[in-house]
Symmetry: C2
Subunit: 447 residues, 2 copies
């Protein structure tokens, strides 16, 4: 629909208000990682309160792309997307025993009828009640894989690192239901596969680590980690980097399957942070009271399914977003994973002068040609600050980390026209004809 492909100008974009410059030094207090600083300085996010952040246009575009990517991978393994309520009745959390267990991390609220609720930090209680209320469930319908991507709430004692440890955040949580251990393990491995593909597509180096299961209980758990300096956990790797574990949570004794003798000698400890956890509850109906949400499963007896295995798979969406920036960015320049960069292409026409108008017109025409390609709709930005030199605007493009910059210099108005294309990650510069440029643009992957 052509009417919906309008041009985007830097002078009109909301992130440009701060002139793309770091703000006052006083704002740096408490900003202890560079991704947090970069996101604030460049109007990717804005702080609303301690631990709560608005997503500004660039940040939200990246978040929506990441969400789409997760949707694709979850649906490829048969995940069905739902959206549960934010408010969760106290009675359910009392029944599960987590009203007290989660303690002051729960945001609690009382309505005008004096009923209590919490703001869901996770939805095991609600999803099991949802299934329990369904009239009929048969073995044939299993496994059931329900997931959502919604805002979650946790009253962190010490929120920090921006989106890495906030008090409201976007999370993907999937809940799976199987009738026996064997298929439950298949489901578990299926989700691992989806996560692997997701992280591969993001293109940021990661490791998959055997994890602890925590207060939720359960028998099996893995975490995915990015390497960075600001993390609170360390991973231990064996020499071949095949088997890993968290040294902060598990001792060597628990190291699950590494048989490489060299392990202890080379335990290369790396400071990292955790980006996700997922875990599985093996729900058996023999009255295992350690399982926090057992109470609803008696209803599955009514459904004639006597042995029920539940899996819970979380993924911190906003956390992943900032974590990729923490891993990829430089001290002064944001670097996005290509697939989720807010915009792919940044066009800089030559400065005002005798032919200033012509350069801007050429930039607009090029933008139109590019955005006629469906995969580039909304992906092109024109830096129309025509009073600034190309070099000055390149500094901004570099800081914001647009993957590709196209400079319209003198040669862009010659015949045949030549465009200067800069790949931000490699800083490689190539001159291209329009045909070459279009062929190049067709190769850019978007979501």
């Amino acid at each position: 629909m052509a009417s919906y492909c309008h041009r985007r100008y830097v002078s009109r974009l909301f992130q440009n208000f701060g002139k793309l410059q770091p703000k006052s030094k006083s704002q740096e207090v408490g900003l202890s990682c560079h991704s947090h600083k970069l996101m604030l300085y460049n109007d990717i996010i804005a702080q609303s309160y301690a631990g709560g952040f608005h997503m500004l246009p660039l940040g939200l575009r990246a978040l929506e792309k990441l969400t789409h990517l997760v949707d694709e991978e979850m649906q490829a393994i048969g995940g069905q997307k739902i959206a549960m309520t934010t408010l969760a009745p106290e009675s359910l959390w009392q029944t599960s025993g987590r009203w007290a267990a989660a303690g002051s991390e729960l945001f609690k609220i009382t309505d005008r009828q004096k009923h209590q609720f919490c703001l869901g930090p996770t939805h095991e209680e609600l999803v099991t009640k949802l299934l329990a209320n369904i009239a009929q469930v048969s073995y044939k319908q299993l496994p059931i894989k329900l997931y959502q991507i919604t805002r979650k709430f946790r009253d962190e004692m010490a929120p920090k690192y921006g989106l890495l440890r906030g008090r409201e955040f976007e999370m993907k949580d999937m809940y799976t239901f199987d009738s026996n251990e064997e298929t439950a393990l298949e489901t578990y491995n299926g989700v691992c596969g989806a996560y692997n593909r997701l992280f591969d597509r993001l293109g940021v180096p990661y490791v998959k680590v055997a994890g602890a299961t925590g207060i939720i209980g359960g028998s099996l758990s893995h975490e995915y980690h990015y390497f960075a300096d600001v993390g609170q956990d360390s991973v231990l790797m064996c020499e071949r980097k095949v088997f890993l574990t968290l040294c902060s949570k598990m001792g060597f004794a628990h190291f699950p399957t590494c048989h490489h003798k060299q392990f202890c000698a080379t335990n290369s400890s790396n400071s990292i942070f955790m980006i996700i956890i997922f875990y599985q509850l093996n729900v058996l109906l023999c009255g295992d009271h350690e399982l926090i949400i057992y109470i609803y499963f008696f209803l599955f007896v009514i459904h004639n399914i006597s042995d029920f295995h539940m899996g819970c798979y979380g993924l911190g969406i906003t956390r992943i977003l900032q974590a990729t920036l923490e891993a990829l960015s430089t001290e002064t320049g944001i670097r996005w994973p290509g697939l989720i960069a807010p915009h792919q292409i940044y066009i800089i026409p030559k400065k005002d002068g005798s032919r200033g108008e012509d350069y801007l017109t050429a930039a607009e025409s090029l933008s139109d040609s590019l955005t006629q390609r469906r995969h580039l709709q909304g992906e092109v930005v024109i830096d129309d600050r025509m009073n600034l030199t190309i070099g000055r605007r390149q500094v901004d493009a570099d800081r914001l980390g647009y993957p590709y910059t196209i400079i319209l210099g003198v040669k862009a108005l010659e015949s045949p026209a030549l465009y200067e294309v800069v790949e931000t990650a490699t800083r490689e510069t190539t001159f291209m004809s329009k045909d070459q440029l279009m062929a190049f643009a067709d190769q850019i992957q978007t979501i």
Copy 2:
């Protein structure tokens, strides 16, 4: 990406658990409109608590399509999408005077540091603070149009009618900033135009009515209404149906611009419900204390913009979703606006028998051909309940309101194959060859 085009089977879909039948009569208590019943019975939504609903797979697909439609229209008029926090600090709402004014409709919460927040029912306070905190704003950047589509919270005294009047709901709210009255009016008319296009594309008859501005104040306001039996408002229309007003809120005396003499004689009163409100605040810095959020605008003086006009434009997304169903559906069958139907095509292969497998295979092959078209990815469902007759499954297709049903009967296995295509809205049946069917499918509009 072919790997992400997987087939969808009815037997695996979550909405099928209730066997597509109305549940027990006891559940009907309090269900006072048919769209609410239809959405509950057919697993479009599920109640979580009084006034709070989970969106199940079909409902969420429709909601995501509607969201996409709204995004297109908002961005076509230069809207930039953001996402503000759900929690809003008490201090801001105290400053605006709405902490007390909104009274018990606000969900209030206290964190572990004893700071108070409310769950945002709307975001005027937060968005003005966001702008006030921006380092530099110049006249050249105006108008600024920021919008979000997020979950809002309102502690309704008497939640009812499902999503029409719930306690948590999805809302689009846009906030615009202009430097003078003339451009502010242009912005206002621009948003009206976007709303008109949105409602035209949904294809459900509506009226645009001059509205009251309510506690938020402001100078100009319109509402869009659908006609239905369950509404609480009435509209008065003049004979030519050009000018309308709400009789519950405004008397004849206030009827704005109707000059048709016949008006009083024919005041055809229609029971309807309101689906949106939008309004404009003309913020003048001469100390107009009636304007609830004036306090932040002194910061715009720092930005050297002495006269500031703010517009606030709301749109109840979940409310529109159910309102369209209330307007279109029959007592027993859901009817979706075509563009936001969860799935477009429902394939029913002939029942088990000597050639049962062949029919299912043909259905799968047809589904693959259809979903290879980009606009039909995810839009095709196969009813693989092969133990049921075609007629029995048609009843379910009709109740769920899939726009198009394709029946694979005896002729579908002949050479050349013939497919029976039923258009749900008109109940028109056509036999088509595969080529004809594909040409037909290419015409189906999706978003």
